[in-house]
Symmetry: C2
Subunit: 300 residues, 2 copies
């Protein structure tokens, strides 16, 4: 138990939230019932894997820990409500703990999330932070991965690839974008791009038992992917298809809804392909080749 | 990402639960609304602090990780429902992961908890496991720490002290005991003994703004405390008052309800003291001395 009660401090700074009567430090946090399905996600981040503490600092680690969980709520078009935070701090790391929680608090505030509890520990190891985030489905229900159908159009909310150059630390979870889209079209399936565009599309296809063809020319390649390609020996498109931690949303809608989005979308979206009966394919100037979930394009 | 998808495996083995429609591997788990307040608790355990992996094995670590969270739900007289599990596995530790999840699964099954999601990571550090557990308040509501009143009788559900000799690894969370007590008496305040009897009673007193006198002769001293006293140089009672991780329940009720419990309690309970206006005291054969939350008894 570290000398400073971070959780009590966090709770004391948590603004009143209609669904979360912040309690007086009991064994559990108490969330008032909302009558809507509760969404729950947890992501654990470790120093050396998800961030390099010595390079980026604890505030950035805290921001990322909250943001990646928010991205999971966004992927189901949920409204984030509350979080609990479990942390293993390097011994003597009071400054680390404070900076970490400042970062968590900043992103939580930005998205209206009440931090309602947690568990802070000191140990001989490196920094570990696990955020468990709660959200509520809207009246339209949560969007699952399993609803894609052949004929659906495939969209992405922004350019992808090369996030390792720094963007992976400061993702903007597409919470508001998901909710706006959920209002105006019927989202058949959705996921956030954490493993990589091809891998995450493959998750949708596996759950939906259908396939998809991506249009190579339509995929929005991030400038970071172009920059990374200068030294990696791989083309920018390979980074766009294979790199992870972009945290843009990947979703499918009916062709009719897709056409409406191309006409007037409430948020930036790019059509990158269409769903088919089976397989994962890349259409490169009319030539259709198998696309591996790793982003690798097989020559036939 | 380790080679084996533990979470998918866990979810595939999770029995159907009325409140938890186990989803098809989406970004979030979805819990159906219950109309009752949701209880949330999280505890993070680390190798070297909460268990010694090399000595006790990963299954014991998994059992403890689930049990200590269940104890927090018990402390509010809640019904545990579901959990998510975030883990950092030592690299190459597939066997560690499997044993850990066997332990988690065993205790979850014993208490009807559905494991609905999680996040499994490999890293260069030691084993870290963070369980976030959900429960529901009963129709009588959650029991808080803040409801003790002067005149209340103070009870404990079992003997305390010396858990470090091994019991701290295999606690029996008093979930059923709490629910039975909640049915038959008005529980004014309750907490589980994790920091130590005196420290946890002090948590109740601080939240309730009252005091208590413990009766030294009435405190049930565990045989482990007696055994530990042989080598520690401290009396068994000091271990009973100061040692942590007993995970028995400490609660207060009105004197009338207390008398009824002494007559016929549905579960084992021991009366150990009474609440007063202020202070924390130990009555040792008629001599009342200040008791520190550490368990230390001050000579006046």
């Amino acid at each position: 138990m570290p000398e400073f009660d971070y959780i009590a401090w966090l709770r004391s700074r948590t603004p009143a939230h209609p669904r979360v009567p912040v309690g007086p430090g009991d064994d559990c946090a108490v969330l008032a019932p909302s009558g809507r399905p509760l969404l729950v996600t947890t992501d654990l981040l470790t120093d050396g894997t998800d961030f390099i503490l010595a390079e980026v600092g604890a505030r950035a680690a805290g921001r990322k820990a909250m943001a990646v969980n928010l991205s999971d709520i966004a992927a189901m078009a949920g409204v984030p409500t509350a979080a609990v935070v479990a942390v293993a701090l390097p011994r003597g790391g009071r400054a680390v703990g404070e900076e970490l929680y400042v970062g968590i608090r900043e992103v939580a505030d930005e998205f209206g999330v009440a931090v309602v509890g947690g568990d802070t520990n000191s140990w001989d190891g490196a920094l570990v932070v696990a955020v468990t985030l709660f959200g509520e489905a809207t009246a339209r229900g949560p969007v699952l991965r399993s609803g894609a159908r052949p004929g659906d159009w495939v969209f992405v909310t922004g350019p992808v690839g090369g996030s390792i150059r720094g963007r992976h630390l400061t993702p903007t979870p597409r919470v508001r974008e998901a909710l706006r889209l959920h209002e105006v079209v019927g989202l058949h399936s959705m996921i956030d791009i954490s493993d990589g565009l091809a891998a995450d599309l493959n998750h949708i296809l596996e759950e939906s038992r259908c396939g998809a063809v991506l249009d190579a020319a339509a995929i929005p390649v991030h400038p970071d992917a172009v920059e990374l390609a200068r030294t990696s020996g791989r083309p920018p498109l390979a980074h766009a298809l294979g790199d992870g931690e972009d945290f843009e949303l990947l979703f499918t809608v009916s062709a009719a809804d897709g056409a409406r989005l191309l006409g007037a979308s409430p948020v930036p979206v790019v059509k990158i392909g269409e769903c088919v009966d089976a397989g994962l394919w890349l259409d490169d100037g009319g030539r259709r080749r198998p696309l591996a979930p790793t982003g690798w394009v097989h020559d036939l």
